[in-house]
């Protein structure tokens, strides 16, 4: 079942490609959180995306809060979770370590240019180790995803993400 984004105060988007190992961290995050919470619990819409900027804009335009989880490739220790409030980011700076050629940074830049942004956008990056062809996350990334799922689920439970 799909809902127009404006009926949900919060949309949670996992960005990635599950066929490129740790690049599927965002997808795994959404799947685990969905299994934990169900599809529309706590007025949150969960979705996966391949990073297509048009799809991201369609999902988050006008939403009070959008949360994006994506793999990053910045050279940090694998499994490191970084958080960025992209609403305050002037032009996507800090998002340039996305693993996609047209990714979250480009979506933010396009959204700002077109006036199609959520009221708030929080981006979580999970540092990957292996982006080769294949399925499955490396150990540290798997742990990081599990940790972030728990953290977000707790925040949802406390009403901090609506």
């Amino acid at each position: 079942m799909t809902h127009p984004p404006h009926t949900h105060p919060t949309v949670l988007i996992g960005v990635g490609n599950p066929s490129r190992r740790d690049d599927g961290a965002g997808n795994r995050f959404v799947r685990e959180l969905r299994a934990l919470l169900g599809e529309c619990k706590n007025h949150v819409r969960l979705m996966e995306s391949d990073g297509d900027p048009a799809a991201l804009l369609a999902a988050w335009t006008g939403v009070p809060l959008a949360i994006v989880v994506d793999a990053s490739n910045s050279g940090a220790e694998p499994g490191t979770v970084t958080e960025l409030d992209a609403s305050a980011t002037s032009n996507g700076h800090g998002l340039r370590h996305s693993t996609h050629s047209m990714g979250v940074m480009e979506a933010v830049q396009l959204g700002k240019a077109l006036g199609r942004m959520p009221s708030r956008l929080r981006v979580f990056g999970i540092e990957g180790a292996d982006f080769s062809y294949g399925e499955g996350l490396t150990d540290k990334v798997e742990l990081a995803v599990a940790g972030l799922v728990g953290r977000i689920a707790a925040m949802l439970g406390r009403g901090e993400l609506t």
Binding site: A54, A58, E106, Q109, L110, A113, L114
Partner: protein, 442 residues
């Protein structure tokens, strides 16, 4: 002789320039370009395709004819319908199956959806920034938000049409040999119709917009190749024709066209035997099949002064816009004439046979050939995408263009050469399908 004197001598003697782009931007897939100019001549031109080989022809073996449309659709996320159609037609040709009437119409309808989304993506997001002086569409959106918004709207209509008929926009799930798993209801198509009417108007505006762009002065005498059908602009059916007298059944494709492996590329190069490179895609269709375009497409082409023959590859952006008008118009016609078929597919009985399919992907003719065993298991497969058919023509274009415009500084020449590659809307992921990989560890 001192090292400084040697350098001066080398600089003085060498009239060599190199244009090197490690990663081409705004193309689908991963490729690079290398060009060496010496004494006014382009000595070495290479389009380096380093997207890894994907071996689809190999792992299709021992799969069944029913799996080929779903497997080959994965070759491309932008033109999956083209692969599904070519593989379906190949199986149907082998097994003596005719898909006619409303099922044939539905195939044209889903193909129209793919042409709309693919062409709009290329026109506005990949190619227009070149002509307007922007590094990419995001920077273009800052100054021209209305153009990018229009592109997103139009692309969504194309994608949604693919979902309406095919069940999903990327790798549709409703296409099968013999037709479809489920036919759409008339009411659903009629509900969608107003969006197509709006998109048709936006496509007409797109033609007016892009026909006003400034095009480099560059013409070549190409051999254009496309499907030709006496009554309709080609999508799924026709004979293969060219502007130099070619006129063959698609089952004779391999008697005329041959693929060659070149050292610098993971993609095969396709040529016409004893003739050389050729050019498939929108410009080929436009030049060979103009009379079969729909009425509004012909009217807008005439209004902006774009009538065949078009032989400047930079003007491909206008041709794509005209084809988008056609796709919208054709989709509306098909919806108006639609009545749900009695059954969503024609029964298929496999047999030991060989079958050929050739349909017009957004980027040009896409050829499939399979041999099947008595149960419809695939024994061999051959897939020739449009981009690999255009690769040699693209390299010749680069050579001629670089020689003609060598007066530009390196930065400008590099930009224009990249633009020259983007004229072809190359789909590099499609081009790297080949089977054999020779590894020389000597």
């Amino acid at each position: 002789m001192s090292s400084a004197e040697r350098v001066k001598l080398m600089k003085g003697k060498s009239r060599s320039r190199r244009v090197k782009v490690d990663v081409l931007a705004r193309v689908e897939g991963e490729g690079g370009m290398y060009l060496r100019l010496r004494n006014g001549k382009a000595e070495d031109v290479k389009l380096r395709i380093y997207e890894p080989p994907r071996f689809f022809e190999a792992f299709l073996r021992d799969r069944t004819y029913m799996e080929a449309p779903d497997i080959t659709a994965r070759i491309c996320g932008i033109c999956p319908v083209a692969y599904q159609m070519s593989s379906c037609h190949a199986a149907e040709a082998a097994f003596g199956v005719k898909v006619e009437g409303q099922l044939r119409a539905l195939r044209r309808l889903i193909y129209c959806g793919e042409w709309i989304e693919s062409h709009v993506l290329h026109i506005y997001i990949l190619h227009a920034p070149d002509f307007l002086g922007y590094e990419d569409a995001i920077r273009m959106a800052v100054d021209r938000p209305e153009a990018v918004e229009r592109a997103l709207r139009m692309k969504k209509v194309g994608n949604d049409l693919m979902t309406l008929v095919g069940g999903r926009e990327i790798h549709p799930i409703n296409v099968r040999v013999g037709g479809f798993y489920k036919a759409p209801a008339k009411v659903d198509l009629l509900r969608f119709r107003p969006r197509l009417e709006e998109t048709l108007e936006e496509a007409i505006e797109t033609v007016r917009l892009v026909s006003g762009l400034t095009f480099p002065d560059f013409e070549r005498d190409y051999e254009f190749v496309a499907l030709h059908h006496p009554e309709e602009y080609p999508l799924n059916e026709g004979r293969l024709v060219s502007n130099r007298g070619l006129d063959i059944e698609i089952s004779d494709y391999e008697k005329v066209f041959v693929e060659e492996h070149v050292e610098h590329s993971n993609a095969l190069h396709s040529v016409i035997r004893e003739r050389g490179p050729y050019f498939v895609g929108p410009m080929a269709r436009f030049n060979l099949d103009f009379d079969q375009l729909t009425p509004k497409a012909k009217v807008i082409a005439d209004e902006v002064g774009f009538l065949p023959p078009i032989t400047n590859p930079f003007k491909g952006i206008v041709v794509r816009a005209i084809e988008t008008v056609f796709a919208c118009e054709e989709a509306l016609r098909l919806i108006d004439a639609y009545e749900p078929p009695e059954r969503p597919f024609v029964e298929v009985t496999p047999k030991r046979a060989r079958g050929h399919g050739c349909t017009e992907a957004p980027r040009g003719a896409l050829y499939h050939r399979y041999t099947y065993d008595e149960a419809g298991g695939i024994l061999t497969a051959k897939i020739v995408p449009p981009t690999s058919q255009n690769l040699m023509t693209m390299e010749v274009d680069l050579k001629d263009y670089a020689e003609a415009y060598q007066g530009l500084d390196d930065e400008a020449l590099t930009w224009q050469c990249e633009q020259a590659v983007r004229n072809y809307d190359p789909c590099i992921s499609c081009a790297t399908h080949f089977l054999k990989l020779d590894v020389d560890r000597g």
